[in-house]
Amino acid sequence: MDSTSNRQILAVEVSAMQKVREALEKLLLEKGISGYSIRGNKVVIYVEDEESASQFKSMAFEGYETEIKVIGRLQML
Protein backbone atom coordinates (compact mmCIF):
# COMPACT_ATOMS: atom_id res chain seq x y z
CA MET A 1 0.00 0.00 0.00
CA ASP A 2 1.48 3.40 -0.94
CA SER A 3 1.65 6.41 1.37
CA THR A 4 -1.31 8.12 -0.35
CA SER A 5 -3.56 5.14 0.46
CA ASN A 6 -2.28 5.13 4.04
CA ARG A 7 -3.10 8.82 4.38
CA GLN A 8 -6.60 8.24 2.96
CA ILE A 9 -7.27 5.39 5.42
CA LEU A 10 -5.99 7.55 8.27
CA ALA A 11 -8.23 10.44 7.17
CA VAL A 12 -11.29 8.13 7.10
CA GLU A 13 -10.42 6.81 10.59
CA VAL A 14 -9.97 10.32 11.99
CA SER A 15 -13.27 11.39 10.43
CA ALA A 16 -15.06 8.33 11.89
CA MET A 17 -13.59 9.01 15.32
CA GLN A 18 -14.66 12.64 15.12
CA LYS A 19 -18.24 11.55 14.38
CA VAL A 20 -18.21 9.18 17.36
CA ARG A 21 -16.87 11.96 19.57
CA GLU A 22 -19.60 14.35 18.41
CA ALA A 23 -22.26 11.71 19.08
CA LEU A 24 -20.88 11.15 22.57
CA GLU A 25 -20.83 14.89 23.28
CA LYS A 26 -24.54 15.00 22.48
CA LEU A 27 -25.19 11.87 24.50
CA LEU A 28 -23.51 13.49 27.52
CA LEU A 29 -26.37 16.00 27.71
CA GLU A 30 -28.89 13.20 28.24
CA LYS A 31 -30.27 12.56 31.71
CA GLY A 32 -28.65 9.51 33.31
CA ILE A 33 -25.30 9.86 31.53
CA SER A 34 -22.29 10.61 33.76
CA GLY A 35 -19.52 10.56 31.18
CA TYR A 36 -17.72 8.70 28.44
CA SER A 37 -14.32 7.64 27.27
CA ILE A 38 -12.77 6.44 24.01
CA ARG A 39 -9.92 3.99 24.50
CA GLY A 40 -8.59 2.48 21.30
CA ASN A 41 -11.55 0.87 19.58
CA LYS A 42 -13.65 0.81 22.72
CA VAL A 43 -16.22 3.35 23.85
CA VAL A 44 -17.10 3.35 27.56
CA ILE A 45 -20.31 5.12 28.54
CA TYR A 46 -20.59 5.96 32.24
CA VAL A 47 -24.13 6.07 33.60
CA GLU A 48 -25.82 7.03 36.86
CA ASP A 49 -27.68 3.80 37.66
CA GLU A 50 -28.91 0.42 36.44
CA GLU A 51 -32.02 2.00 34.94
CA SER A 52 -29.85 4.24 32.76
CA ALA A 53 -27.65 1.25 31.93
CA SER A 54 -30.70 -0.58 30.57
CA GLN A 55 -31.83 2.51 28.68
CA PHE A 56 -28.52 3.00 26.89
CA LYS A 57 -27.35 -0.61 26.56
CA SER A 58 -28.29 -0.73 22.88
CA MET A 59 -26.00 2.21 22.00
CA ALA A 60 -23.60 1.24 19.23
CA PHE A 61 -20.88 3.05 17.31
CA GLU A 62 -19.67 1.61 14.03
CA GLY A 63 -16.19 0.17 14.38
CA TYR A 64 -16.22 0.48 18.16
CA GLU A 65 -16.99 -1.96 20.94
CA THR A 66 -19.29 -0.35 23.53
CA GLU A 67 -19.30 -0.87 27.28
CA ILE A 68 -21.81 0.63 29.72
CA LYS A 69 -20.54 1.16 33.27
CA VAL A 70 -22.50 2.38 36.29
CA ILE A 71 -20.51 4.93 38.33
CA GLY A 72 -23.36 6.88 39.91
CA ARG A 73 -24.46 10.48 39.61
CA LEU A 74 -21.31 12.58 39.85
CA GLN A 75 -21.37 15.57 42.16
CA MET A 76 -18.83 17.79 43.87
CA LEU A 77 -17.82 16.37 47.24
Partner: protein, 253 residues
Protein backbone atom coordinates in the same frame (compact mmCIF):
# COMPACT_ATOMS: atom_id res chain seq x y z
CA UNK B 1 -8.08 10.51 63.60
CA UNK B 2 -10.29 13.60 63.86
CA UNK B 3 -9.50 15.55 60.70
CA UNK B 4 -12.18 18.14 61.41
CA UNK B 5 -10.43 19.72 64.42
CA UNK B 6 -8.26 22.85 64.52
CA UNK B 7 -4.63 21.95 63.77
CA UNK B 8 -1.61 23.94 64.99
CA UNK B 9 0.48 22.23 62.32
CA UNK B 10 -1.36 22.12 58.97
CA UNK B 11 -0.75 19.45 56.31
CA UNK B 12 -2.81 17.79 53.57
CA UNK B 13 -5.87 15.68 54.41
CA UNK B 14 -7.59 17.92 57.00
CA UNK B 15 -10.71 20.11 57.05
CA UNK B 16 -10.48 23.48 55.32
CA UNK B 17 -12.78 25.81 53.41
CA UNK B 18 -13.41 29.38 52.40
CA UNK B 19 -15.70 31.56 54.51
CA UNK B 20 -18.37 31.02 51.82
CA UNK B 21 -18.62 27.21 51.94
CA UNK B 22 -19.05 24.39 54.48
CA UNK B 23 -15.87 22.29 54.48
CA UNK B 24 -13.57 20.38 52.18
CA UNK B 25 -10.07 18.95 52.35
CA UNK B 26 -6.70 20.71 52.30
CA UNK B 27 -4.67 19.17 49.46
CA UNK B 28 -1.38 20.38 50.87
CA UNK B 29 1.37 22.96 50.63
CA UNK B 30 2.48 23.75 47.08
CA UNK B 31 5.01 26.10 45.50
CA UNK B 32 3.53 28.97 43.50
CA UNK B 33 5.42 29.00 40.19
CA UNK B 34 4.49 32.62 39.52
CA UNK B 35 6.29 34.11 42.55
CA UNK B 36 8.04 31.26 44.37
CA UNK B 37 5.93 31.52 47.55
CA UNK B 38 4.31 28.62 49.43
CA UNK B 39 0.55 28.32 48.92
CA UNK B 40 -2.28 26.17 50.27
CA UNK B 41 -4.20 24.25 47.60
CA UNK B 42 -7.66 22.69 47.42
CA UNK B 43 -10.53 22.62 44.95
CA UNK B 44 -11.99 25.78 43.41
CA UNK B 45 -15.35 24.93 45.00
CA UNK B 46 -13.68 24.51 48.44
CA UNK B 47 -11.78 27.82 48.23
CA UNK B 48 -14.70 29.53 46.48
CA UNK B 49 -14.73 33.32 46.69
CA UNK B 50 -13.06 36.46 45.50
CA UNK B 51 -9.26 36.54 45.05
CA UNK B 52 -7.41 38.66 47.62
CA UNK B 53 -10.64 39.11 49.63
CA UNK B 54 -12.12 35.76 50.66
CA UNK B 55 -10.67 34.22 53.82
CA UNK B 56 -9.73 30.55 54.10
CA UNK B 57 -10.54 28.84 57.40
CA UNK B 58 -9.08 25.74 59.06
CA UNK B 59 -11.18 23.94 60.06
CA UNK B 60 -13.91 24.77 57.55
CA UNK B 61 -17.05 26.58 58.82
CA UNK B 62 -19.07 23.35 59.04
CA UNK B 63 -16.44 21.95 61.40
CA UNK B 64 -16.48 24.99 63.68
CA UNK B 65 -14.02 27.28 61.89
CA UNK B 66 -14.69 30.91 62.81
CA UNK B 67 -13.30 34.29 61.87
CA UNK B 68 -10.88 35.70 62.66
CA UNK B 69 -9.19 33.07 64.88
CA UNK B 70 -9.24 30.25 62.34
CA UNK B 71 -8.19 32.23 59.26
CA UNK B 72 -5.14 30.60 57.67
CA UNK B 73 -4.94 32.59 54.44
CA UNK B 74 -6.68 34.48 51.66
CA UNK B 75 -7.77 33.11 48.28
CA UNK B 76 -5.04 33.88 45.73
CA UNK B 77 -6.43 32.52 42.46
CA UNK B 78 -8.27 29.59 40.89
CA UNK B 79 -7.74 27.71 37.65
CA UNK B 80 -10.01 28.95 34.83
CA UNK B 81 -13.43 27.35 35.09
CA UNK B 82 -17.02 28.34 34.29
CA UNK B 83 -17.91 31.07 36.77
CA UNK B 84 -21.29 31.70 38.31
CA UNK B 85 -21.48 35.13 36.68
CA UNK B 86 -22.11 33.51 33.31
CA UNK B 87 -25.63 32.48 34.35
CA UNK B 88 -28.21 35.23 35.01
CA UNK B 89 -29.64 35.24 38.55
CA UNK B 90 -33.09 33.91 37.54
CA UNK B 91 -31.51 31.03 35.67
CA UNK B 92 -29.27 30.24 38.62
CA UNK B 93 -32.33 29.96 40.91
CA UNK B 94 -34.19 27.75 38.44
CA UNK B 95 -31.13 25.55 38.00
CA UNK B 96 -30.66 25.36 41.77
CA UNK B 97 -34.22 24.06 42.11
CA UNK B 98 -34.67 21.98 38.97
CA UNK B 99 -31.18 21.69 37.43
CA UNK B 100 -30.99 17.93 37.91
CA UNK B 101 -33.96 17.68 35.53
CA UNK B 102 -32.89 20.42 33.10
CA UNK B 103 -29.53 18.95 32.19
CA UNK B 104 -28.62 20.71 28.96
CA UNK B 105 -30.25 24.02 29.94
CA UNK B 106 -28.09 24.29 33.06
CA UNK B 107 -24.80 23.67 31.29
CA UNK B 108 -23.51 27.18 30.74
CA UNK B 109 -20.57 26.60 28.45
CA UNK B 110 -19.09 24.27 25.91
CA UNK B 111 -15.58 25.38 26.84
CA UNK B 112 -13.51 22.46 28.09
CA UNK B 113 -12.68 22.35 31.79
CA UNK B 114 -9.78 20.26 33.04
CA UNK B 115 -9.38 21.26 36.62
CA UNK B 116 -11.23 22.18 39.82
CA UNK B 117 -8.44 23.79 41.84
CA UNK B 118 -7.46 26.99 43.62
CA UNK B 119 -4.68 28.27 45.86
CA UNK B 120 -4.48 30.61 48.82
CA UNK B 121 -1.76 32.39 50.72
CA UNK B 122 -0.63 31.02 54.08
CA UNK B 123 -1.13 33.96 56.44
CA UNK B 124 -2.60 32.58 59.69
CA UNK B 125 -4.35 35.01 62.02
CA UNK B 126 -2.85 32.97 64.87
CA UNK B 127 0.89 33.37 64.19
CA UNK B 128 1.72 30.23 66.18
CA UNK B 129 0.19 28.04 63.46
CA UNK B 130 2.55 26.48 60.94
CA UNK B 131 2.26 24.27 57.86
CA UNK B 132 4.20 21.18 56.76
CA UNK B 133 4.72 19.64 53.35
CA UNK B 134 2.98 16.29 53.00
CA UNK B 135 -0.25 14.76 54.29
CA UNK B 136 -1.53 13.47 57.62
CA UNK B 137 -1.65 9.68 57.61
CA UNK B 138 -2.64 9.55 61.27
CA UNK B 139 -2.53 11.80 64.33
CA UNK B 140 1.24 11.66 64.74
CA UNK B 141 2.44 10.94 61.24
CA UNK B 142 2.83 13.23 58.25
CA UNK B 143 3.89 11.45 55.08
CA UNK B 144 5.60 13.38 52.28
CA UNK B 145 5.68 11.49 48.98
CA UNK B 146 8.07 13.63 46.92
CA UNK B 147 7.41 12.10 43.49
CA UNK B 148 4.81 13.37 41.06
CA UNK B 149 3.00 11.89 38.05
CA UNK B 150 1.20 13.64 35.18
CA UNK B 151 -1.83 11.37 35.48
CA UNK B 152 -1.54 9.88 31.99
CA UNK B 153 -1.22 6.13 31.32
CA UNK B 154 -2.29 4.86 34.76
CA UNK B 155 -5.30 2.64 34.01
CA UNK B 156 -5.23 -0.36 36.35
CA UNK B 157 -2.89 1.30 38.89
CA UNK B 158 -3.70 1.38 42.61
CA UNK B 159 -4.09 4.85 44.08
CA UNK B 160 -4.84 6.22 47.54
CA UNK B 161 -6.33 9.46 48.68
CA UNK B 162 -6.58 11.13 52.07
CA UNK B 163 -9.63 13.24 52.85
CA UNK B 164 -11.45 15.01 55.67
CA UNK B 165 -14.38 12.56 55.76
CA UNK B 166 -13.37 9.06 54.64
CA UNK B 167 -9.65 9.55 55.48
CA UNK B 168 -7.23 7.19 53.69
CA UNK B 169 -8.92 4.98 51.10
CA UNK B 170 -7.38 2.88 48.37
CA UNK B 171 -8.86 2.51 44.88
CA UNK B 172 -8.12 1.39 41.34
CA UNK B 173 -7.91 3.64 38.28
CA UNK B 174 -10.48 2.47 35.72
CA UNK B 175 -10.03 5.38 33.28
CA UNK B 176 -7.44 8.13 32.78
CA UNK B 177 -8.99 10.05 29.89
CA UNK B 178 -12.69 10.32 30.69
CA UNK B 179 -15.06 13.17 29.93
CA UNK B 180 -17.44 13.56 32.88
CA UNK B 181 -20.48 15.62 33.83
CA UNK B 182 -20.50 16.86 37.44
CA UNK B 183 -23.39 18.42 39.37
CA UNK B 184 -22.35 21.60 41.27
CA UNK B 185 -25.56 22.30 43.16
CA UNK B 186 -27.03 24.65 40.58
CA UNK B 187 -25.44 23.56 37.32
CA UNK B 188 -23.68 20.78 35.47
CA UNK B 189 -20.05 21.28 34.52
CA UNK B 190 -18.24 19.10 32.00
CA UNK B 191 -14.61 18.11 32.54
CA UNK B 192 -12.32 16.45 30.02
CA UNK B 193 -9.31 14.16 30.41
CA UNK B 194 -10.14 13.05 33.94
CA UNK B 195 -9.11 10.10 36.10
CA UNK B 196 -11.94 7.80 37.24
CA UNK B 197 -11.19 5.72 40.34
CA UNK B 198 -13.17 2.82 41.73
CA UNK B 199 -13.00 3.60 45.44
CA UNK B 200 -14.66 5.32 48.39
CA UNK B 201 -15.09 9.04 48.95
CA UNK B 202 -17.81 11.19 50.46
CA UNK B 203 -18.96 14.78 51.01
CA UNK B 204 -16.11 16.83 52.50
CA UNK B 205 -13.42 14.81 50.74
CA UNK B 206 -13.15 17.36 47.91
CA UNK B 207 -9.55 18.48 47.64
CA UNK B 208 -8.12 15.14 48.78
CA UNK B 209 -4.59 14.72 47.44
CA UNK B 210 -4.35 11.46 45.48
CA UNK B 211 -1.24 9.31 45.01
CA UNK B 212 -0.17 6.38 42.87
CA UNK B 213 0.62 3.54 45.26
CA UNK B 214 3.91 1.70 44.78
CA UNK B 215 3.66 -0.71 47.73
CA UNK B 216 0.85 -2.40 49.68
CA UNK B 217 0.24 0.70 51.76
CA UNK B 218 0.87 4.47 51.43
CA UNK B 219 4.58 5.31 51.41
CA UNK B 220 6.95 8.16 50.58
CA UNK B 221 7.82 6.42 47.31
CA UNK B 222 4.31 7.11 46.00
CA UNK B 223 3.67 9.84 43.45
CA UNK B 224 1.22 12.73 43.74
CA UNK B 225 -1.12 12.43 40.75
CA UNK B 226 -3.96 14.91 41.31
CA UNK B 227 -6.90 16.22 43.32
CA UNK B 228 -10.18 14.46 44.06
CA UNK B 229 -13.12 16.81 43.45
CA UNK B 230 -16.23 14.74 42.67
CA UNK B 231 -17.73 11.33 43.17
CA UNK B 232 -20.64 8.99 42.63
CA UNK B 233 -21.47 5.47 43.74
CA UNK B 234 -18.21 3.81 44.83
CA UNK B 235 -16.28 5.96 42.34
CA UNK B 236 -14.48 9.27 42.53
CA UNK B 237 -13.00 11.68 40.00
CA UNK B 238 -9.48 13.12 40.12
CA UNK B 239 -8.13 16.04 38.06
CA UNK B 240 -4.59 15.50 36.83
CA UNK B 241 -1.37 16.98 38.22
CA UNK B 242 -0.29 18.04 34.72
CA UNK B 243 -3.21 20.51 34.61
CA UNK B 244 -2.52 21.70 38.17
CA UNK B 245 0.99 22.58 37.00
CA UNK B 246 -0.08 24.11 33.69
CA UNK B 247 -3.25 25.96 34.60
CA UNK B 248 -3.01 26.74 38.33
CA UNK B 249 0.78 27.08 38.06
CA UNK B 250 1.64 25.49 41.36
CA UNK B 251 4.06 22.65 42.05
CA UNK B 252 3.65 19.79 44.54
CA UNK B 253 6.06 19.96 47.49
Amino acid sequence: MDRTKRFSLLAGGISIGSEEITAGTLSGLFKDLTDGTDVLVSNWHVFMGEPEKTNILQPGRYDGGRMPNDIVGVLKRSAPIDVYGKLPWWKRILCMLFGWLLEEWCMPSKLPNYLDAACSTFQPYDKSRTVARGVYIDEDKILFPKNTHTGDGIVGRKVWKVGRTTEVTIGTVIDDSATVKVWYGDRWIIFQDQIVVEGDASGGDSGSPTFIMEKDSPSEEDAFVGLLYAGGAKHFIVCKYKYILEKLQVKWG
